[in-house]
């Protein structure tokens, strides 16, 4: 038997369908074929974005009373409805809202909230209860259960977040496909990768290293070869986050078979002098997402895309003594898509009268309900298997 056939057969026998691309060419899908091929983009606003100054409860006296120095005044907002308005740095986001392409879900969180950045971030990534520690992410488990290739989930950022780590498969970190590819071109390592045979199939740690090596080579080649189909002419903000979203648009419009994209924008930890800091970041966010959506619309891919934006926690309602806010709890989550079933403000706005003992917002929607809805209604997979529990589905898609 030829080695190539052997590899193919043993891979099939093992249940995996991973065929390294240097053994068998893998192709992106042409635009007519890929139409309807749904994907999601997950964006984390890292550091804990202050939801109340992002989507502002403009008619609420408590808001203005507890934030005498940092509340957004009416003139610095863009109206959503009578009692709610966008921070006026979210112009592009506001126009998506007006087009019926955005859904705002208020008061999203989880029981016994943790106010540590990294712990709360882990909870959102792993979709665990706040007193449980799970070492895999919800998107990693999606990969495990439904995908054959690591490149079905790509993080366009440095490193790989917990969210994209599965038990069997990890997503691929590919901030720059050229760099990723170059990283695999050194003669010695390429020599190893090309000569890997059945060792990659073993379950032990050595097998795992070789398997990851092979997956890296195959994904790097796949992404490199297939992401050049589309060259964007859309202008993005000259910022790392803007570049990352541009890269994602390039991937989607080139017809990659990737289902999950992940990126993040950091710097939201506004303990001190919040207003200028947060406003600047929200502007970058809005302009970048606006550009991304425009780009996708040009190739008619926005209808196949869902953008989930979250942050690890909201911030304390009352401002602190340094014109900033401290770590809080529940927050809004936004969904942007060309195929929403329900756009607009999904549920009740934050109740500032009913705060917890720390003066933080109480959640009414478990964040895992949002995940379950996306998994089940959008990606059309079994959410209970991935989230290890049955969370109530919502109606936004």
């Amino acid at each position: 038997m030829k080695r190539r056939d052997f590899l193919k057969q043993s891979l099939l026998a093992s249940g995996a369908t991973l065929i390294p691309s240097f053994l068998k060419g893998m192709e992106s899908m042409s635009l007519d074929k890929i139409s309807g091929y749904k994907n999601i983009i997950v964006i984390q606003l890292s550091g804990g974005n202050d939801g109340l100054n992002t989507i502002v409860p403009i008619k609420n006296d408590i808001y203005y009373k507890l934030r005498p120095k940092i509340a957004k005044s009416l003139k610095d907002t863009i109206r959503i409805q009578d009692n709610l308005a966008f921070n006026d740095n979210l112009k592009e986001i506001a126009s998506l809202y007006d087009e019926g392409e955005m859904c705002i879900i208020n008061n999203v969180g989880y029981p016994n909230p943790n106010r540590s950045h990294f712990r709360s971030s882990d909870i959102w990534h792993s979709a665990s209860d706040s007193n449980k520690y799970i070492n895999t992410g919800w998107l990693g488990r999606y990969l495990d259960a439904n995908c054959s290739n690591p490149h079905h989930a790509i993080e366009v950022n440095k490193g790989l977040s917990l969210a994209l780590k599965g038990e069997k498969l990890n997503g691929i970190s590919a901030e720059n496909p050229k760099f990723l590819y170059k990283n695999t071109q050194e003669t010695f390592f390429k020599g190893i990768a090309t000569n890997v045979d059945d060792t990659m199939l073993s379950e032990d740690n050595q097998g795992y290293l070789y398997k990851t090596l092979l997956e890296t080579y195959s994904s790097a080649a796949y992404i490199n070869e297939n992401s050049k189909v589309y060259k964007t002419i859309q202008t993005y903000p000259n910022h790392k986050f803007g570049n990352n979203l541009k890269q994602i648009a390039q991937f989607i419009n080139s017809g990659l078979t990737t289902r999950v994209y992940y990126s993040s924008l950091g710097g939201f930890d506004s303990h001190v002098n919040q207003l200028p800091k947060q406003d600047r970041l929200l502007k970058i966010y809005s302009k970048s997402v606006g550009a991304l959506v425009n780009d996708l619309k040009k190739q008619n891919r926005f209808k196949d895309t869902l953008i989930l934006t979250f942050t690890e926690f909201g911030r304390r309602v009352k401002e602190n003594a340094s014109t900033g806010t401290d770590h809080g709890t529940a927050n809004n989550v936004t969904i942007i898509s060309g195929s929403l079933k329900q756009a607009g403000v999904y549920n009740e706005i934050p109740n500032l009268q009913n705060l917890d003992a720390n003066g933080d917002l109480q959640h009414s929607v478990d964040f895992r309900s949002v995940y379950a809805t996306i998994l089940n209604n959008w990606l059309e997979v079994d959410d209970t298997q991935i989230l290890n529990s049955n969370f109530k589905k919502m109606n936004f898609v």
Partner: protein, 473 residues
């Protein structure tokens, strides 16, 4: 049990109990009987070697600081933590007390905390350092009373009138019994009451605050009394489950990520019967036959620290800018004093993803040979260049890609090759493979090494440490 260890067994022992052996140390140990080798391992680790990084100039945070001063202080704290990290890394790379350093690394992950305060961090580190080869019960009490753990697990917010269960929960779930192992939510609530009042003063020292303490009666794990924090620690140590949980964790760390329940039970009994003497449980492992079974050798994925320190010791690596070590720790996801959460680094396969694996593979050559891996004498490697090059662009002759890469530019380091080459003089290729690589070779590695016509020991060594096999120990 035979009288002497084989070279492989010695290297195995030292990779697990330390950070690997140099050829000279290996030679020396080969002369000793097994018991003597183990005995030396322990005796060489008697010194505590407290870190010397000076932290007195860092003022303690207080309420009178304004926002700008607070920010400045925070930056100083981060810089100080780097200093502490680099001193500890240096100590791991050069110290004779390898077993102690190894145990500190183990317990630092067992008692995971992240406070980004130099004084508290160093204090916790020293509490662990002093007890790393002593009594686990004493270490548990010392660590539980450390301002770092008290702050990190919110026990300052644990007050009679408003109990905070975090500390009590983690003491049971992570430090002693293990998750869902013989305690109930009620036990946590009651234990939390006993820990009320364990706090810190304004200078970040431990302080018991009687006015916050709940004097009432508590019932924890079936025992009732007007317990204080130390009583809960005592009760937890009375549970054999604590010895079992710790033994299982040690087994996974020192022996094999796949647990053998019988061996864990032998360890747990020895640990419990010795009243938690850490040396006893370690000796139970290191003196057993099963520790050296082939299925336990070369099956552990080195942590980033293992990888950096192990290479550093073997090749006497000197970093032009020691901050490269911080860079590596960040890139490889093990920045000391910044664990991912209170449960610590999960380790094993979790170290590996596509971005860390490529960096890990390139790290040895980048550090000891400017990224250059000589392959021209290897037919298999050279062949693969033509078969894998992109043929769509015609028959361009494939170019050898070697040397300078992103990592090489970031890490500027040198190795002491003279010393290494003298120490391995006379070793055959097979000897070198056995010496540097712990696992059984994969088919690929075997094929590549068999094809190597490389007669230059240095070049061959660099090939060896660049193989995926070097990532295991």
């Amino acid at each position: 049990m035979a009288h002497f260890f084989s070279e492989k067994e010695l290297q195995h022992l030292y990779w697990r109990a330390g950070f690997g052996l140099s050829a000279d140390e290996l030679k020396k140990n080969k002369k000793y009987k097994k018991e003597k080798v183990i005995d030396r391992l322990f005796r060489n680790s008697e010194k505590e070697n407290l870190l010397k990084t000076e932290i007195s100039q860092i003022e303690v945070e207080n309420k009178s600081l304004n926002a700008k001063q607070r920010n400045e202080l925070q930056l100083k704290q981060v810089a100080k933590l780097e200093e502490i990290t680099l001193e500890w890394m240096q100590q791991m790379q050069t110290s004779e007390e390898v077993l102690r350093e190894r145990m500190i690394l183990f317990f630092t992950n067992h008692f995971s905390a992240q406070v980004i305060k130099a004084k508290m961090t160093l204090d916790l580190h020293h509490r662990i350092r002093k007890n790393a080869l002593g009594n686990f019960g004493e270490m548990l009490l010392e660590v539980s009373k450390s301002p770092s753990i008290i702050t990190f697990l919110n026990n300052k917010q644990n007050k009679k009138k408003s109990p905070n269960e975090n500390f009590a929960r983690e003491v049971m779930e992570l430090f002693t019994l293990g998750r869902d192992s013989g305690y109930s939510e009620k036990d946590i609530k009651e234990a939390a009451r006993a820990f009320t009042g364990w706090s810190t003063d304004q200078k970040e020292n431990f302080k018991f605050k009687p006015f916050l303490h709940d004097e009432g009666q508590k019932t924890v794990l079936g025992q009732t009394g007007n317990f204080k924090g130390q009583d809960i620690i005592r009760i937890l140590l009375q549970q054999k489950q604590t010895a079992t949980y710790l033994s299982e964790k040690m087994y996974k760390y020192f022996v094999n990520p796949i647990v053998n329940k019988d061996h864990v039970s032998i360890m747990a009994t020895a640990f419990y019967n010795s009243r938690y003497d850490i040396k006893t449980v370690l000796k139970t492992m290191f003196l057993s036959n099963w520790f050296y079974e082939e299925k336990n050798i070369g099956v552990k994925i080195k942590s980033p620290i293992d990888l950096i320190v192990g290479l550093g010791r073997q090749f006497k690596v000197a970093y032009e800018n020691p901050k490269s070590i911080i860079f590596l720790q960040k890139k490889l996801n093990q920045r000391l004093f910044y664990p991912p959460n209170v449960a610590g680094w999960p380790g094993d396969k979790h170290w590996i993803d596509n971005s860390t694996l490529m960096l890990r593979l390139k790290f040895p050559a980048a550090t000891i040979n400017k990224g250059i891996i000589d392959v021209e004498d290897n037919a298999i490697i050279m062949d693969s260049m033509s078969t894998t090059s992109n043929t769509t662009e015609g028959s361009v002759k494939p170019k050898l890609q070697n040397g300078s890469n992103f990592l090489t530019k970031k890490i500027k380091a040198t190795a002491n090759w003279d010393l290494f080459l003298i120490s391995v003089k006379g070793k055959s290729k097979k000897d070198l493979i056995d010496f540097l690589l712990q696992p059984k070779l994969s088919a690929v590695a075997k094929k590549i090494l068999e094809a190597s016509k490389e007669e230059n020991t240095k070049h061959f060594t660099i090939q060896l440490v660049s193989l995926p096999e070097y990532q295991l120990c």
